[in-house]
Amino acid sequence: MSSEPVETDDGKTLYPVEPAANLGEGERITVNIKGREITLFNSNDEFHAVLNFCPHQGGPLCEGLLDGTLTMEDWEWTYSCDGEIVSCPWHGWEFDIKTGEHLSKSDYRVPTYDVVVRDGEVYVVE
């Protein structure tokens, strides 16, 4: 980390993660913020921060494959959401990294965090 946490006017804290230039398209980095492992993804040139913990059985969700998923339109198989779906490497439970929602089970959700970029540094907002 290259800088200290920043307090904002509205009472939130920005935790510095990495200079944006260091995290290329499709790359990710996992950091410890207040005892929680949070993974920052650069996917489709957007940053998304997701808790590295699968709510299913506690697996390291964000170490898993980041890709899309097979879906169906008019009864034809299609591949969609490329770069937006992370699959837990333990059991394959799939979550949308933008929203934290599980693809099929609405009562399962992994925490996500807002991300801001200031002066070239990527911050996770809490």
Partner: protein, 368 residues
């Protein structure tokens, strides 16, 4: 991995010993082939097969898509004691009984001599590479059901080895079924050596044997116990996974004469599978159990467990029976149910719910 060996969950600390009785290795064909006895060592020694073995001719596969083949699940390699220790630490187990992966498919290898040789080779590799009782690493000696006499000899040879804790019987895909006299030498050898016989399928190898399995059932009881619910579960699993209730949302199916307990079991097992394999059924917009509740009804006869009202009551609750169960008698067949049989078995049901089960659900389902 997120958890380390030191971070034992609090609830597990209360348990004295944790034994993991189905701890798989991920042996590959190339691990086993060097141990093959002659003449197979010579014959197959010229070829290594493909990388994982499933696609080669030695171990048949059904070729279904799963989260490993699509790369969603990063199934760990367990082909050394060090790799096994990673899993043991993760699960916090004190002892494990090591079971195979590739050799789950041994039961459907057609050449029975080759099957016996592959079992022998796996056991050699297991003992050489994986067994370590000081580290709690025990193993099950694989036998080939296709060659029972050789299997019995294999059991006799392996039983005294330190760390062999069981016989592993790859039960998926076998024909005839496990009750056949053909297998008695295996059971006799296991019994004589004081080893349990582990039975373990793989879904891919069961598929090769389901029709034969029905045909191989040799008694009425065994057929009647499993045939009705198995056939219903196969049909419903196929219908829902391939979207029949999505195409025909207003169509109702009435599923009959298979008992009750399999219904809540099937719903929950189906949901459990679906949530890690959604892209295998991408047209579904709800859990499989929701389609079962919406599009399927069940008739009551024959009710199992009638000596235990609390069992029947809880099964009917768990299947949502107040909305989807309909009384049936099956009169005059030999296992028919008398009219008030079920009512005495549903103590938690109020009058409205009993009315549903005895009539209202049928009135809403059938076009009277």
């Amino acid at each position: 991995m997120a958890q380390s060996a030191e971070e034992i969950p609090a609830r597990l600390k209360k348990i004295d010993t944790i034994v993991d009785c189905d701890f798989h290795v991920t042996e590959r064909q190339e691990d086993i082939l060097p141990y093959l006895p002659e003449p197979w060592s010579n014959v197959f020694g010229r070829s290594k097969g493909d990388d994982y073995g499933f696609l080669s001719s030695l171990y048949p596969s059904a070729g279904l898509i799963n989260p490993i083949t699509t790369g969603k699940v990063q199934s760990e390699s367990v082909r050394s004691k060090e790799e096994a220790q990673v899993g043991i630490d993760l699960i916090h187990s004190d002892k494990v009984v090591i079971t195979p992966t590739l050799n789950l498919y041994l039961g459907c290898v057609r050449n029975e001599e080759v099957a016996a040789a592959l079992a022998h080779a796996y056991n050699e590799w297991l003992l050489d590479t994986m067994i370590d009782t000081d580290r709690g690493m025990y193993g099950a000696a694989v036998v080939a059901p296709q060659k029972p006499q050789k299997a019995a000899e294999e059991i006799d040879d392996r039983a005294s080895e330190d760390g062999i804790a069981a016989v592993f019987f790859p039960s998926g895909g076998i024909s005839p079924l496990a009750g056949a006299e053909k297998y008695y030498p295996i059971y006799e050898a296991a019994e004589a050596n004081g080893l349990p016989v582990m039975m373990h399928n793989a879904s891919g190898n069961m598929m090769t044997a389901f029709p034969r399995a029905f045909a191989d059932l040799t008694r009425f009881i065994s057929s009647h116990v499993v045939a009705h619910p198995m056939m219903h579960m196969c049909n419903m699993a196929d219908m829902i996974t391939r979207g029949v209730p999505v195409r025909f949302p207003d169509l109702n199916f009435v599923v009959q004469e298979a008992g009750l307990g399999y219904i809540p079991y099937f719903m929950r097992r189906f949901d459990h599978e679906y949530h890690s394999k959604k892209e295998d059924a991408p047209m579904l917009e709800a859990e499989p159990s929701e389609y079962i509740r919406r599009n399927f009804s069940f008739t009551s006869q024959p009710i199992e467990g009638t000596g235990e009202p609390e069992y029947v009551d809880s099964m009917v609750r768990l299947m949502g029976g107040e909305d989807n169960l309909m009384f049936s008698s099956d009169y005059p067949h030999l296992d028919f149910d008398y009219t008030d049989e079920m009512m005495n078995l549903l103590p938690s049901f109020d009058v409205d719910e009993l009315n549903n089960v005895y009539g209202q659900n049928a009135l809403e389902t059938f076009d009277f």
